[in-house]
């Protein structure tokens, strides 16, 4: 099977991180409005997540699009499952679906004080 080598790295990262966001920039300093909006939704829920900045890694940037069959960044993975991009995550957040989904997946949420 001729699978891009980068897929192995992607699988490894997805396996290591319960909540993983492939994004432009970092969680502290997002470099695209869509990435920022996704970080914001996760932060408001109090979800701890790992962010991978694809801007500094061209191989990963192209690889993740092919891996997920999804043309844009950000991309959210929870417990190995592709959840979606910015629009889906934001919509799920607004309807309360995201909180429900995280709970079902056993992701702990820090309740905001």
């Amino acid at each position: 099977m001729s699978e891009p080598q980068v897929f192995e790295r992607i699988r490894d990262e997805i396996g290591k991180n319960d909540v993983l966001l492939f994004m432009k920039g970092t969680p502290v300093f997002p470099q695209c409005g869509f990435s920022a909006a996704t970080v914001d939704a996760l932060s408001q829920l109090g979800v701890k997540f790992h962010g991978i900045n694809i801007l500094v890694d061209p191989e990963l940037r192209e690889g993740i699009k092919e891996f997920s069959q999804w043309p844009t960044i950000p991309q959210l993975y929870v417990k190995g499952e592709f959840v979606g991009g910015c629009d889906i995550v934001r919509e799920m957040f607004e309807t309360g679906e995201l909180e429900q989904f995280m709970k079902e997946k056993g992701v702990s949420l820090a309740t905001a004080a």
Partner: protein
């Protein structure tokens, strides 16, 4: 190169013939759009699959010439 809203609508309708498409030019720069797509073809599909169908209709332009398209998809209300 920005895309015209009309071109986006045509492409989506070509790929999903029964789709009702509404486009908003968010920034007025021909580069940041919001689209709402309603189609019976979405029935029973997950959000991810629905969005993938629209991206498929756009044939690789998404993330390329089309930088920003905020997407909302739904099946028609019964």
């Amino acid at each position: 190169m920005p895309m015209q809203a009309q071109d986006i609508i045509s492409l989506i309708k070509e790929g999903i013939p029964d789709a009702e498409v509404e486009i908003q030019d968010l920034a007025g720069d021909g580069d940041h759009y919001a689209a709402t797509v309603i189609s019976a073809a979405f029935t029973g599909k997950s959000k991810i699959q629905q969005h993938q169908m629209v991206y498929g209709a756009l044939g690789g332009r998404m993330g390329g010439v089309l930088h920003a398209l905020k997407l909302t998809t739904m099946a028609p209300k019964p």
